[in-house]
Symmetry: C2
């Protein structure tokens, strides 16, 4: 990957900013601050903030560390919101995931009660971080975008439909809706936030929002395919995976080959949206990285 | 109570506004919207929004239904945040309360997964409701106050300390801190929000914030006493609960008589703060209502 150094560098900047914006873990009550930091620094790829920063840099046609300083509160706010949703999704009542990125998930490490409150705390910390923006009008626009993305019309709504659909033979349009809300909503928000911060016009904002939804859906379809392929290899699974296997996925509904076709089409459509935008190299590279995951 | 009609009327206005600001329960995904409405309309006394409205009316020296219209988004936001915290606190992992105001609690009615997401949804809905304010500067100030009150420095922090202190012989200053954060923080926010909306100066804002903290602490000390003496009808929950949960309370640490003295002193201090403010009759009446709960 040509831009590996770029991604690594942006990830480092985001990690340092997250460290600044989170309460120190030696402040009272230490336990929740430790739990917030544990989950934030558990090895996340920072996909959403990098996506936002890359778009911002494309729109401004500038790629230096200084120019992204002022959007860091917003970039970190997205990551906090994303992490909060993972913590709550991993709980025994919801996805019951004991591990996350090879480490014990928040509730395994700190207990269920603290995990619930850690999710809550990261939600409020996310919005507090946005308030660090000096430009009040932009702070309000960013909050509106983040609140919309995480509402019952977005991320939370997607999770709800996912829960009530489990063990049901849902149709493709419902599955598509779950993916678009659970994953697409926050990616779309990342693009909208970059546009607000870069003063992009409505046309570009709408185009990049569509671009993000295509990417989000492609990403999930590929995840479904990888899960299916992995499941075929490991036919005798450990208990607890049964629950997951009862989930309807793209390959279950369409078969693996047709799912791959759909993923490729989504990436193709996304690529068409940004094809004629200047300085689109990083976003194009992100698209390629996603395409390369298709087995 | 002289002002019974006033309270009832304000409660009605708040309930109608909550109905307007919550997503209709026939919109998709219906389940979460039904759950949000179930918990919001489960018979809450609307103490925090009424407290805010009463303070706003005191500061403006106006008491008509029209003048409070523009603060309703903020008043409802407080109630949503309060309800969200109750839903999460009632979960089996935290307080394990199957009932709330004589009805099944949210997780008993909708399941644990939906209850977690309903709390999350009410948190984001709360902040979205604040954004309905037309004055952008005030919207930001109100958000800052609500985020601070619900953060790990406030409500969430209080809940964390409560959890890690359970079944421990905590000292009085820790118990006081839990009460001040779990109950005091949002009451203090109610006063600060009223002050922002009424353009009160810093001195009055600080005085009313102290007033609220005194009230919050008094309220909790009285709750502790009522729990100890078994006054179910005044408690809005089953008495003896704290005992069964092996919770340290004011009566456990100080005895019932000394706890009563402390509650009276807190109410006395609160009354001293607002004694010379004009139009303080409703707030004084609220103080009396709280004092009358002492058995």
């Amino acid at each position: 990957m040509v831009l590996e150094r770029y991604f690594e560098n942006r990830r480092e900047i985001i990690n340092r900013a997250l460290d600044r914006y989170l309460p120190p873990d030696d402040t009272y009550p230490q336990k929740i601050h430790k739990a917030m930091r544990y989950s934030i620094f558990a090895g996340g790829k920072r996909l959403r903030p990098i996506f936002m920063i890359a778009t911002y840099e494309m729109l401004l046609n500038r790629r230096d560390k200084r120019s992204i300083q002022k959007i860091l509160p917003v970039a970190c706010a997205i990551e906090m919101l994303h992490t909060a949703s993972l913590i709550h999704d991993d709980l025994p009542f919801i996805d019951n995931a004991g591990e996350r990125r090879g480490k014990p998930s928040c509730h395994k490490k700190f207990g269920n009660a603290i995990a619930i409150l850690t999710g809550d705390a990261l939600i409020t910390q996310s919005f507090e971080t946005v308030l660090k923006l000096r430009n009040h009008k932009k702070a309000l626009s960013c909050l509106e975008i983040l609140l919309n993305a995480s509402s019952t019309r977005g991320m939370i709504g997607g999770q709800v439909v996912d829960i009530i659909s489990s063990q049901k033979r849902v149709k493709l349009h419902v599955l598509r809706d779950i993916h678009l809300k659970k994953t697409g909503a926050l990616l779309k928000a990342s693009e909208q936030l970059a546009c607000v911060m870069a003063n992009a016009n409505e046309q570009i904002t709408n185009a990049l929002a569509d671009f993000a939804l295509n990417i989000g859906l492609a990403y999930q379809v590929i995840d479904d395919i990888l899960d299916e392929v992995g499941a075929d290899e490991l036919l005798y699974k450990e208990s607890g995976e049964d629950h997951r296997n009862e989930k309807v996925t793209y390959p279950v509904l369409l078969g693996i080959e047709e799912s791959k076709k759909q993923a490729l089409k989504l990436i193709h459509d996304a690529s068409n949206i940004i094809k004629y935008m200047p300085n689109n190299d990083v976003l194009m590279e992100i698209l390629e990285t996603i395409r390369d995951r298709i087995p």
